[in-house]
Amino acid sequence: MFNRDRWKEILEVLTTNWFRTVLTAFGVFWGILILIILLSAGKGLENGIRADFGDIATNTMFMWTRSTTKAHMGLPIGRNFNYKTEDVETLWEKFPQLRFISPRNQLGGFGGNNNVIRGLKTGAYNVYGDYPEIIQQEPMAITAGRFINQSDIENKRKVAVIGLGVKNELYEAGEEILGSYIKIQGVNFLVVGTYKKRSGNGNGEEGQKEIYVPFTSFSQAFNRGNNVGWMAITAKDEFPITSLKMGIVNEMKRVHKIHPEDTRAIGFFDLYEEFNRVESLFGAMSFIGYFVGILVLLSGIIGVSNIMLIVVKERTKEIGIRRALGEDPWSIRKQILLESIFLTIISGMAGIVVGALFIYGVNALLDANGPVDMFMNPSVNLGVVSAALFILIISGLLAGFIPAQSAIKVRPIDALRTE
């Protein structure tokens, strides 16, 4: 099949009309190039967005309270209520599928008053009362010291872990941080660690300006009793939180005597669902990449097919002669198919190579100019390249099929008659 004479002939045929061959090849080249660029751009966007999600445990929901909108069991409409620390126990009991339940309290917030003082410096920061597990639901890198631990919780130690943003504003460069004190709403806390969150964790700079203190000391210092502001609940990987969340919400309604049809009283956000929505966006993007790329490729293939038809037409007489001399029709068909596959693959390879160079160039640019929002490391993997090659071979076959068929339909006497 791949003997020397065949290759010689393929080259002879394709090089007789260089200009035409190159023009034809360009169609396929262009199609593959666009396919590769679209897929890599999609990948870049995906990489960027995934980096924004970071290592957050995505199988997570957040749940908070609002006022009731229905009277129930003798309790009035518009009632405010709080989650209690006992609710955590209840949830653990009722939902063994859960992995983490972090009750949280919060101070300060967006554009609030200055609530933290250190010496002469002040700042407005989000202060959270948390359990140690929170670091697995909202990952951060500890850059110095340590995070809150279980004994802090048990002993209600007044310790704090501060973000790099807080450190930059409250401390001079080179100042010793660990072991220093900050005053949060008049209460002194010992700084035991600093953290850094991945940049662009949804809220960017804001994420570095947080302070974490033990849940128990928070409650005590700021008089929260056993109230819980909100909860971050993560399920084990094999149980999507999306399918558990209504059960959890209903359980809370029952515990807090809320009308079962009161949809406002408990607020929640399903990160997993959101994440899946983005996931399906990635799917859609690569679908569009393939779709558009393959359509462009298709027009290239039609070009190849068209030229091969013309080639067959031009060679009608030659084909007639060859058949009169006893060439098997299969051999003729194979010849035309090979010419078409060869042309397609060569031009497709050129497209892949140029596409790879292009991606390389974009990456070099990105590296040189620093990170860009929502775009990171565009790339195509080996899978895509092999898929492209596979598509090319199939395309070549498709492009050659009709011409090859028309070549073997040539009857030798008819071909020889055409003068």
């Binding site: 020397r4 007789t16 002669i321 060859r322 001399l325 006893g326 006497i413 003068e419």
Partner: protein, 233 residues
């Protein structure tokens, strides 16, 4: 070598049908050199194409060297053409992007003979038609007579049972025609069976037998005293 009985062939053109061969009966022995003559449109080429398995008869039988030729599929027909028949055409029909040697070697390539062996054999036949030095020239660099000799070498190279030549001198001047006929006579002298379709009486006289075709039937079939081409050159 060739036995045909009651061969009929008609061409359909729309609702009309043109009856071209109306019952041809004729035999060719091994080693014969037969000329087929007749006015234009008498069906000579049609007959030759059927003998060459390029076309099929409507009815009648055709036996080539003991093998009945009928209901061939394309692959089989190609195979038979390759092994049993050599074609020489008026317009040479060389493949223009292949050298003389490659053209001659083509039938052997279709037999999947190894490259080296193929080239040696093709060279031997090129030498026989006196074109050894021209082996690496393209057809466009050859004269009409040289092209036809390449075509003859190509027809001979697979050592077929029968050579079929349709107006092989039709495109050549008389001097070149005679040179080509001399070659044909030499090949025939070696025992090859050859059928030549021609218009020209002097070419026909260089064969050993002349078959006259008229309106689709054989009207005359005579043995003649062969005129050697060499004398005329």
């Amino acid at each position: 070598m060739i036995e045909i009985k009651d061969l009929h062939k008609s061409y359909k053109m729309g609702s009309n049908s043109l009856h071209v061969l109306k019952g041809i009966n004729f035999n060719v022995e091994d080693g014969e050199l037969v000329a087929i003559m007749g006015s234009s449109g008498s069906g000579k080429s049609t007959l030759l194409n059927i003998l060459g398995m390029l076309d099929e008869a409507d009815s009648g039988t055709y036996v080539l060297d003991g093998i009945p030729i009928k209901n061939l599929n394309e692959t089989k027909a190609a195979n038979y053409r390759n092994k049993f028949l050599g074609f020489i055409f008026q317009s040479f029909n060389l493949i223009n992007y292949k050298t003389a040697l490659e053209n001659v070697a083509l039938p052997l390539y279709y037999q999947k003979m190894p490259r080296k062996q193929r080239q040696e054999k093709a060279m031997k036949y090129l030498e026989q038609v006196g074109l050894k030095e021209w082996s690496h020239h393209l057809p466009s660099e050859l004269s009409g007579g040289q092209k036809q000799r390449v075509a003859i070498a190509r027809a001979m190279v697979a050592e077929p049972k029968v050579l079929l030549a349709d107006e092989l001198t039709g495109a050549l001047d008389s001097k070149t025609s005679y040179e080509v006929m001399e070659l044909i006579q030499n090949i025939n002298d070696q025992g090859n069976t050859i059928l030549v379709v021609t218009h020209e009486p002097d070419i026909a006289q260089m064969c050993k037998r002349i078959v006259h075709l008229k309106d689709g039937v054989i009207v005359k079939d005579e043995k003649v005293k062969q005129v050697r081409a060499k004398v005329n050159v």
